[in-house]
C-alpha cells in the first residue's frame, strides 16, 4: 500500500495512460492549493498546449478511496474522466471570469468558518455572519466529476469595480434564484440510499429513521449538496422554515455542504448539542469540510442567524424587558390611585426609567461581548 507521497507521484506518472491521445503532450503538475479551513490540498493540473486554463483535480479524496481498497487503475480512469469532462471546447475565454457583465449571474457564495480560514480569507473579499464568513466565487458549471469554480479575490473584485457589499447582494440574489432544498433527514437518506425507491424486504431500510408526524431533524442544502451551508443566507428560506417549525429553530453546522435544522426542544440544552457537533466534527467530518464547532439559532423575531449562546442572552433580556414593561404598565394604571393605592412617587419614576435603562444595558452587553466576530458585522479583507 502506497503512502500519499507515493500515490501522488504514481498518479502524476501514470495519468496520461488513461487519457485520450490529444493529451499525449500535456504537461502534468502537482501543486498545493489552500482550500477551506486553511487546508492545503494537492491539485493535479493537466495542461495541453492549446488550452489556457485547466482545472485542479484534488487528490486527497482519491487517496482515501485507494486506502479503502479501490483499484488504482479505476481511480486513474475516474481522474482522467474528470479531466476530459472539464475540457474546454476552445481556449477558455478568460473574460468569463474577469468581465463583470458576464460574471454577475454566476457569482455564488459559500459559507466557511472565519477563524479557521484566516489565511484563505486574507486575499479575498468576505462578509462576516457571526463567526462564519461568506466568500464568493464564479461558478463555471458542473459535470459528473463535480462543479468548477474560481474564487473571487480582492484583485478580481477590484477588476470588477464593485464593493464587497455589492458582491454580497448579487451573490444573495443568485442564491435566492437557485435550488435550495429543505428535507427531513429521513427523506435525504432515502434519496441517497434508494434512488430507485425502497424495494420491499430491503434490509437497508432498517437503517432509516422512522417516519414521524413531527420530524425532529431536517437537512438544509442545495440540489448538488455542494457548499450548501450557504442556504442559511437566504432570508426567504429561513423565514419559510421558521413558519413551518413555528418560530425560532436550531441550526447544527454539520459541514460546509449542508446544515442540520432542529425544531426547538426545551429539553435539549445548547451545551449538549454543542458537544455532539464537536464529537461529529472530530470523528466524521474531513478537516476541509468542517464549518463550525458551535450551535446556531434562527431568531425569528430579528430574522437573523445567531450563535446559540447569544440567543440565550437575547431570550433572557427579552423576558426581563417584557416583565419590566408589564410592571411599569401595572404601576401606571390610574385605578390604583383612585382606590387609594397610590405608590410612592420615587418608585413610579424608577419604573418608567427602567425600560430605557434596560435597553441601554442590552446594547452595552452586545457591544462588550467577547466573540470571534461581532454579529452582523460586514467587512472586507481588502488589503
Amino acid at each position: 500500500m502506497m503512502d500519499f507521497e507515493e500515490f501522488k507521484a504514481s498518479v502524476a506518472e501514470q495519468i496520461k495512460d488513461y487519457l485520450p491521445e490529444k493529451y499525449a503532450d500535456a504537461t502534468v503538475d502537482l501543486q498545493n492549493v489552500t482550500k477551506n479551513n486553511d487546508t492545503v490540498l494537492t491539485g493535479l493540473l493537466i495542461r495541453t498546449e492549446d488550452s489556457n486554463i485547466a482545472p485542479n483535480i484534488y487528490l486527497e479524496n482519491f487517496f482515501a478511496q485507494y486506502q479503502d481498497g479501490e483499484d488504482l487503475g479505476e481511480i486513474l480512469q475516474h481522474i482522467a474522466d474528470i479531466r476530459v469532462n472539464h475540457e474546454m471546447e476552445q481556449a477558455f475565454d478568460v473574460s468569463k471570469i474577469t468581465d463583470f457583465d458576464q460574471v454577475k449571474d454566476h457569482i455564488i457564495c459559500k459559507l466557511v468558518n472565519a477563524e479557521m480560514n484566516a489565511d484563505y480569507l486574507a486575499d479575498k473579499p468576505h462578509t462576516l455572519v457571526e463567526d462564519l464568513a461568506v466568500v464568493y466565487a464564479v461558478d463555471l458549471g458542473g459535470g459528473e466529476g463535480g462543479r468548477m469554480s474560481a474564487p473571487i479575490t480582492n484583485n478580481l473584485m477590484e477588476q470588477y469595480g464593485v464593493t464587497t457589499q455589492e458582491l454580497h447582494d448579487i451573490a444573495l440574489q443568485n442564491l435566492s434564484e437557485s435550488q435550495i432544498e429543505f428535507k427531513t433527514m429521513r427523506d435525504v437518506l432515502v434519496d441517497m440510499m434508494f434512488p430507485d425507491g425502497i424495494q420491499e424486504g430491503d434490509p437497508r431500510a432498517f437503517m432509516l429513521p422512522p417516519e414521524e408526524e413531527n420530524p425532529s431533524m431536517y437537512v438544509l442544502s442545495n440540489a448538488d449538496k455542494l457548499n450548501g451551508a450557504a442556504a442559511l443566507l437566504d432570508a426567504k428560506t429561513m423565514e419559510d422554515i421558521s413558519e413551518k417549525l413555528g418560530g425560532d429553530f436550531v441550526v447544527l453546522p454539520s459541514s460546509i455542504h449542508e446544515t442540520i435544522v432542529l425544531p426547538l426542544n426545551d429539553d435539549m440544552d445548547r451545551h449538549t448539542l454543542e458537544a455532539m457537533v464537536q464529537d461529529v466534527n472530530a470523528g466524521q467530518v474531513a478537516p476541509e469540510e468542517r464549518l463550525s464547532d458551535h450551535v446556531y439559532m434562527y431568531d425569528s423575531q430579528a430574522k437573523e442567524l445567531v450563535l446559540a449562546d447569544k440567543m440565550e442572552e437575547r431570550q433572557q433580556q427579552r423576558a426581563e424587558a417584557q416583565k419590566d414593561a408589564k410592571e411599569a404598565e401595572q404601576a401606571d394604571k390610574p385605578g390604583k390611585a383612585e382606590r387609594g393605592e397610590k405608590k410612592p412617587e420615587r418608585e413610579r419614576v424608577s419604573m418608567k426609567e427602567k425600560l430605557p435603562e434596560k435597553k441601554a444595558e442590552v446594547a452595552k452587553n452586545e457591544a462588550n461581548r467577547e466573540h470571534p466576530v461581532p454579529s452582523k458585522t460586514k467587512e472586507t479583507a481588502l488589503a
Binding site: 489556457n52 482545472p55 471570469i97 466529476g145 463535480g146 468548477m148 425532529s216 455542494l226 469540510e289
Partner: protein
C-alpha cells in the same frame, strides 16, 4: 503560460456521498442518544421528586 499565472485558481469540487452519509448517520445516532438521555434524566428526576414527596 504566463497568462495562466495571472488567472484565478479554478478548482473542481465534488462531494463524497460516503462522507455525507457518515455525517448524517452520526448526527442521527447522536441525536437519538440525546433524546434517550433526556427521557431517562426526566424519569429519574420525576422518580426522585415522588420519593421525596415533592410532587
Amino acid at each position: 503560460m504566463s497568462e495562466m499565472k495571472n488567472l484565478p485558481q479554478v478548482g473542481v469540487e465534488s462531494v463524497s456521498k460516503g462522507a455525507q452519509r457518515a455525517r448524517y448517520t452520526a448526527y442521527m445516532q447522536g441525536y437519538r442518544k440525546l433524546e434517550q438521555k433526556v427521557k431517562t434524566d426526566k424519569a429519574s428526576r420525576e422518580k426522585a421528586a415522588r420519593v421525596g414527596g415533592a410532587v
